[in-house]
C-alpha cells in the first residue's frame, strides 16, 4: 500500500504564487499531434453536431447553464411568494396560484437545481481531477442531460399552461391522490420525478465508473482529491435513494391513472407508505445536496490556506459515515405521524448522531485554515459563510430532531427557515464559491473580485435578513403554505423584512449574472493555475483542450502540482486518432487496458425524445408505454449499434487480454 507514501507527502514549502512557475515543464505532444488529439475529442460542428455532442465538458457546461436557469426560475417564483406574503391580506396571488407557486419553487429548487447542479459540476471536474480524458459513458452522460432538460421543460410548460402541480414539493397523499387532486397537475409532477431521477441515477453510474476505472496511473484511492471522494459517496447514495422516490411516484401515478390502491385507505392502501418511500429518498437527498459542496469546501480551503487539508483520512471516513447515517434519518420528517414511540426515539438519536461526522469535518477545515496562510479571495468568503449559516441551520436541526419540539414547530415557518439555512448555507454558498473558483478553468478568464465581493455581502446579508425572521415567525405560530394572513396576527412587519431580504438575494444573483457576462469576455486572463492550486485540473490550459490532457499524467501524491516531480511523469502510447482512454484498477489505479470510447452521436438525443414521448404520453394514456416503447427501442438500438469502419480499425490494432483457457 502506498500509505507511507502519502503520509510523507511534502507540505508545499512555497506559497501558491511561487509553486506554479516552478512546476516542471511536462513532456508534451508535437503541435500536429496535439491538433489531431483536439480534433478527435472535439464535438462535431453545425446544428446536428450540437445535438450529437458527447464531450463531457460540453455536456457539463450545458448542464450547469440549464440548472442555473432553473435556479433563476425557482428564485423568481420565490420572489413572487415573498411579494404575496409581504403584507397582511396580500392580493397578488389567489390560493390556487399560490399553491402552484410554492410547489413549483420547491420542486424546481430540489429536483431541477440542487441535486443535478452538483452532478453537472462533477461531470466537468471529476475527469480533470483524476487525470482522465472523458467520463466513462459519454453518450449516457449526454442522454442524462437531455432527459433532465426535457423533464424540467415539461414541468414548466405545464405551469405556464396553468396546470402546474399544487400539492407541495413532497406531494403528500391523500392530497395528491386522485380524489383530492383531480386533473393532470400532480401527474406532471410525478413524471418530472421520473425524468430527473432517471437522469440522476445515470449520472451517478457514470461518475462511479469514471472514478473507479479511469483514474490516472498512481492515483490510488488514498490520493484522490476530496471532491472526488464526495462525488463517489454522493453517487452511491443516489443508487440507493433515488429508486425509492421513483417507485413511490410510479405507485402514485398508477393510483391516479389506472386505479391501483397503494395509498387508498378505502381499499387497504396506506397514506403513510408514501411518506416512508418519499423520505427514504428525501432525507438522503439533503445529503446529496450537501455532500458535494463539502468537496468544494475542501478544494477551496486547501488552495486559499495554501496547504493540504488536515486529516485527509478522517475527512474521507466522515464523508462515508455521513452517507451511511443519512439513510437512518428519514422518519424524523414524520414525527408528527402516529409512529411507534420507540421508532421515534431511535430516529432522534440517529439525527443527533449525524452531527458527529459533520463536526469532524468542520474541525478539520478550521485546523487547515488555522495553520495555513489565508488569502481572502471571493471563493473563500463564500466558504467561510458556510460555517456561519450551516452552523445555524444545523443547530435548528438539532432542535427539530427532538420529537416534542418538532411536534410544536411542525409545518411552521421555523421549518422553512431551518431548511433554507441548511440548503443555502450547505449548498448554495459553497456552490457560488465553487463558481468563482473554477470559472477561470471553464472559460479561461477570472471573475471580477470587486463585483464578487459585492455579490457576496449582498447575498450573505440578504440571506440572513430574509430567513432569520422566519424562525421567529414560526415560533409565533405562522404556518407554512398559507397564501395570506390577517393583520391581527401581527406577522406583517417580520414578513416585510423577509421580503426585503429576498430582494437583496435577487440583486446579488443579478450581480453574479452581470459578473459572468462581463468576465466571460473582458475578465483577466487566468492561465492554467490562477490560484496556485495543487490538483490536476489546474495542470492543463484554461479552458482545457477537448481531450483534457495532451499526455495523461502519472500521480504520486494528493496534490500533484505542489509536490516534487517524479519520473515517469506522463503516459505515452495512447492513440491520438481515436477516443482512446486508459483504464486502471479500482483501488490502486494500476495500468489495466486501453479502451476506445464511442464517438459523437445524435442518438442519445433522439432516444431522450422518444423516452419523453413515453413518459409524457403515459400521463394521458397507459397505452403510451406500449406504443412509445417502439421508438425508444429503435433509438437505443441505433445508439448502441457499432460503426463498421470504427470496428474494423479497432480489430486491426486490437490486443487481446489474457483469456481463460
Amino acid at each position: 500500500m502506498s500509505v507511507a507514501d502519502s503520509t510523507t507527502q511534502p507540505r508545499p514549502a512555497r506559497g501558491p504564487g511561487s509553486v506554479a512557475p516552478s512546476a516542471p515543464p511536462a513532456p508534451s505532444l508535437a503541435p500536429h499531434e496535439a491538433e489531431t488529439l483536439e480534433q478527435t475529442w472535439r464535438d462535431p460542428p453545425g446544428i446536428i453536431g450540437w445535438f450529437a455532442a458527447v464531450n463531457h465538458k460540453t455536456i457539463s457546461l450545458r448542464f450547469m447553464v440549464t440548472t442555473f436557469l432553473f435556479f433563476i426560475a425557482g428564485g423568481l417564483l420565490a420572489l413572487a411568494i415573498r411579494l404575496q406574503l409581504a403584507r397582511p391580506d396580500g392580493k397578488l396571488a389567489g390560493p390556487d396560484l399560490y399553491n402552484q407557486l410554492f410547489t413549483m419553487h420547491g420542486s424546481t429548487m430540489m429536483f431541477l437545481f440542487a441535486v443535478p447542479v452538483m452532478q453537472a459540476v462533477a461531470t466537468y471536474l471529476v475527469p480533470l481531477m483524476i487525470g482522465a480524458r472523458s467520463v466513462a459513458f459519454p453518450r449516457m452522460n449526454a442522454f442524462a442531460y437531455w432527459i433532465f432538460t426535457l423533464g424540467g421543460l415539461m414541468l414548466f410548460i405545464a405551469f405556464f399552461m396553468g396546470i402546474g402541480p399544487d400539492a407541495g414539493w413532497f406531494a403528500y397523499v391523500p392530497l395528491s391522490g386522485p380524489q383530492y387532486s383531480p386533473g393532470k397537475r400532480v401527474d406532471f409532477w410525478a413524471q418530472m420525478i421520473t425524468f430527473t431521477e432517471l437522469s440522476a441515477i445515470m449520472e451517478a453510474i457514470v461518475l462511479i465508473t469514471t472514478i473507479f476505472k479511469m483514474r490516472a496511473p498512481g492515483m490510488t484511492l488514498n490520493r484522490m482529491p476530496l471532491f472526488v471522494w464526495t462525488m463517489l459517496a454522493a453517487s452511491f447514495m443516489v443508487l440507493f435513494a433515488m429508486p425509492a422516490v421513483m417507485l413511490g411516484s410510479t405507485a402514485l401515478i398508477t393510483d391516479r391513472l389506472v386505479g391501483t390502491h397503494f395509498y387508498n385507505p378505502g381499499e387497504g392502501g396506506d397514506a403513510l407508505l408514501w411518506q416512508h418511500l418519499f423520505w427514504f429518498f428525501g432525507h438522503p437527498e439533503v445529503y446529496l445536496i450537501f455532500i458535494p459542496p463539502l468537496g468544494f469546501m475542501s478544494s477551496i480551503i486547501a488552495t486559499f490556506s495554501r496547504r493540504p487539508i488536515v486529516g485527509y483520512s478522517a475527512m474521507v471516513l466522515a464523508l462515508i459515515g455521513t452517507a451511511f447515517f443519512a439513510f437512518g434519518l428519514w422518519v424524523h420528517h414524520m414525527f408528527a405521524t402516529n409512529l411507534p414511540e420507540l421508532g421515534k426515539t431511535f430516529f432522534t438519536a440517529a439525527s443527533l448522531m449525524i452531527a458527529i461526522p459533520t463536526a469532524l469535518q468542520i474541525f478539520c477545515w478550521i485546523a487547515t485554515l488555522w495553520s495555513g496562510r489565508i488569502s481572502f479571495k471571493t471563493p473563500l468568503l463564500f466558504v467561510l459563510a458556510f460555517f456561519v449559516i450551516l452552523l445555524a441551520g444545523g443547530l435548528t436541526g438539532l432542535m427539530l430532531a427532538s420529537v416534542s419540539l418538532d411536534t410544536q414547530l411542525h409545518d411552521s415557518f421555523f421549518v422553512v427557515a431551518h431548511l433554507h439555512y441548511v440548503l443555502m448555507g450547505g449548498a448554495v454558498f459553497p456552490l457560488f464559491g465553487a463558481f468563482y473558483y473554477w470559472f477561470p478553468k471553464f472559460t479561461g478568464r477570472l471573475l471580477s473580485e470587486r463585483l464578487g465581493k459585492w455579490q457576496f455581502w449582498l447575498f450573505f446579508i440578504g440571506f440572513n435578513v430574509a430567513f432569520f425572521p422566519m424562525h421567529v415567525l414560526g415560533l409565533q405560530g405562522m404556518p407554512r403554505r398559507i397564501y395570506t394572513y390577517p393583520e391581527e396576527m401581527g406577522w406583517g412587519s417580520l414578513n416585510m423584512v423577509a421580503t426585503a431580504g429576498a430582494f437583496m438575494i435577487g440583486a446579488s444573483v443579478l450581480l453574479f449574472i452581470v459578473n459572468v457576462a462581463r468576465s466571460r469576455r473582458h475578465g483577466a486572463p487566468a492561465g492554467p493555475n490562477p490560484w496556485g492550486a495543487g490538483t490536476l485540473e489546474w495542470s492543463v490550459a484554461s479552458p482545457p483542450p477537448a481531450g483534457n490532457f495532451e499526455m495523461v499524467p502519472i500521480v504520486y501524491g494528493r496534490y500533484p502540482l505542489w509536490e516534487k516531480p517524479r519520473l515517469p511523469s506522463h503516459v505515452a502510447g495512447l492513440i491520438n486518432e481515436h477516443r482512446e482512454v486508459l483504464i486502471t484498477s479500482v483501488a490502486d489505479a494500476e495500468l489495466d487496458h486501453r479502451l476506445w470510447l464511442p464517438a459523437s452521436s445524435y442518438w442519445p438525443f433522439l432516444s431522450a425524445l422518444a423516452v419523453t414521448a413515453l413518459f409524457v404520453g403515459s400521463i394521458f394514456t397507459p397505452w403510451a408505454v406500449v406504443w412509445a416503447a417502439v421508438p425508444v427501442a429503435i433509438g437505443t438500438t441505433m445508439w448502441f449499434w457499432p460503426k463498421r469502419s470504427t470496428s474494423d480499425m479497432r480489430v486491426a490494432s486490437e490486443q487481446h487480454p489474457e483469456l481463460f483457457k
Binding site: 516542471p24 513532456p27 451517478a204 405507485a251 397503494f262 519520473l567 515517469p568 494500476e590 489495466d592 463498421r644
Partner: protein, 268 residues
C-alpha cells in the same frame, strides 16, 4: 501510427530528469520505438511497459520506474496494454453493476411495500385466492434452466469463441420466448387485478417490474445475438455479451425472492 514524434527526446524533459531518483540520463530517447516496430512483440524489451501490460500485482508504475533496471523515463509507454478486458476490469461491468444495484433496490422497496401493506391488513389476500402455483412454478423452472445456456454464452464470449457464442445466444433467445410466453399465463392466474385492492396493486407492481426486466433483457440479448451474426464485431462486443449474461443472472436471481413473495407471501 502518426504519433511517433511524441517519443522524440524533449530537452525540457532532460533537464527535469536530473531531479529524479537515479536520474541524470536526460535527453535519452525514452521507450524509443520507431514506427516500424509498432507491435507488441517489438516493444517487449521495454521493461516499464511490460510491467504495466502484465498488470502484475503491486506493479505501481512509479515504483517500477524508480527501482527498475533501466534509467527512469519521462514517460510510461502503455501501447502494449490490451484494448479490452472482461469482468470487473471493464467499465461495462461497473455500469451493469450500477444498474443492478438500482434495480435491486427498486425490487427490495417494492417487496417492503408489499409487506408494509400486508402488516396493515387483517386478511391477505384481502379478497379472493392467492395466485395459482402452477405457472409461477413452471416459469421459475424455465428461468433457472435458462442459466445453463446463459452460462455457456458467457464462457464462450470470454474465450472469444464466436461460433459457440452464436449457438448459446440463440439457445438463450429460445428460452426467453418460453418464459415470456409463460409469463402471460402467470398474469392470467394471479387471481387478482391491479385495481381490486391494495394487495392486487402490490402483486401487479412486483410482477410488472419484473416483467419489464424480462422484456428489456430479452430485447438486449436479441440485439446482441443479431450483432453476433451480422457484425461489425470487435473484442469489446464479447465483453458486451459477457456483461449481458451477467445481467441475465441478475434478472433470474432477483425473480427468486419476488416469486417467493408473490406466490407464498399470500399463503404463509
Amino acid at each position: 501510427m502518426s504519433d511517433k514524434a511524441r517519443h522524440q527526446p524533449d530537452p525540457a524533459v532532460g533537464v527535469r530528469m536530473e531531479n529524479a531518483p537515479g536520474g541524470g540520463q536526460g535527453g535519452v530517447p525514452v521507450n524509443g520505438r520507431n514506427s516500424a516496430q509498432d507491435s507488441a512483440q517489438n516493444s517487449a524489451a521495454d521493461a516499464v511497459s511490460e510491467a504495466g501490460a502484465n498488470t502484475a500485482p503491486g506493479a505501481e508504475p512509479g515504483a517500477t520506474a524508480g527501482a527498475g533496471p533501466q534509467a527512469p523515463s519521462a514517460t510510461l509507454d502503455v501501447s502494449c496494454l490490451p484494448t479490452f478486458a472482461f469482468g470487473h476490469r471493464s467499465p461495462m461491468w461497473w455500469g451493469t453493476l450500477g444498474l443492478m444495484v438500482v434495480e435491486g433496490t427498486v425490487f427490495a422497496l417494492a417487496v417492503m411495500s408489499y409487506f408494509y401493506l400486508r402488516s396493515h391488513s387483517s386478511a391477505w389476500p384481502m379478497t379472493g385466492l392467492p395466485p395459482d402455483l402452477l405457472w409461477g412454478g413452471v416459469n421459475t423452472a424455465i428461468m433457472l434452466a435458462s442459466l445453463v445456456p446463459n452460462h455457456f454464452a458467457k464462457r464462450a464470449a470470454e474465450r472469444l469463441d464466436l461460433q459457440k457464442v452464436r449457438l448459446w445466444m440463440v439457445a438463450c433467445m429460445i428460452v426467453s420466448l418460453a418464459f415470456l410466453g409463460v409469463r402471460v399465463l402467470e398474469f392470467t392466474t394471479l387471481n387478482t387485478r391491479w385495481d381490486s385492492d391494495a394487495y392486487g396493486s402490490a402483486v401487479w407492481m412486483l410482477m410488472g417490474l419484473h416483467t419489464t426486466h424480462l422484456i428489456t433483457d430479452a430485447y438486449d440479448s436479441l440485439v446482441l445475438t443479431v450483432l453476433m451474426f451480422t457484425g461489425p464485431l470487435e473484442g469489446k462486443r464479447f465483453v458486451d455479451v459477457s456483461e449481458n449474461a451477467g445481467y441475465w443472472y441478475f434478472v433470474v436471481f432477483s425473480w427468486i425472492p419476488i416469486y417467493a413473495v408473490i406466490y407464498w407471501g399470500a399463503r404463509i
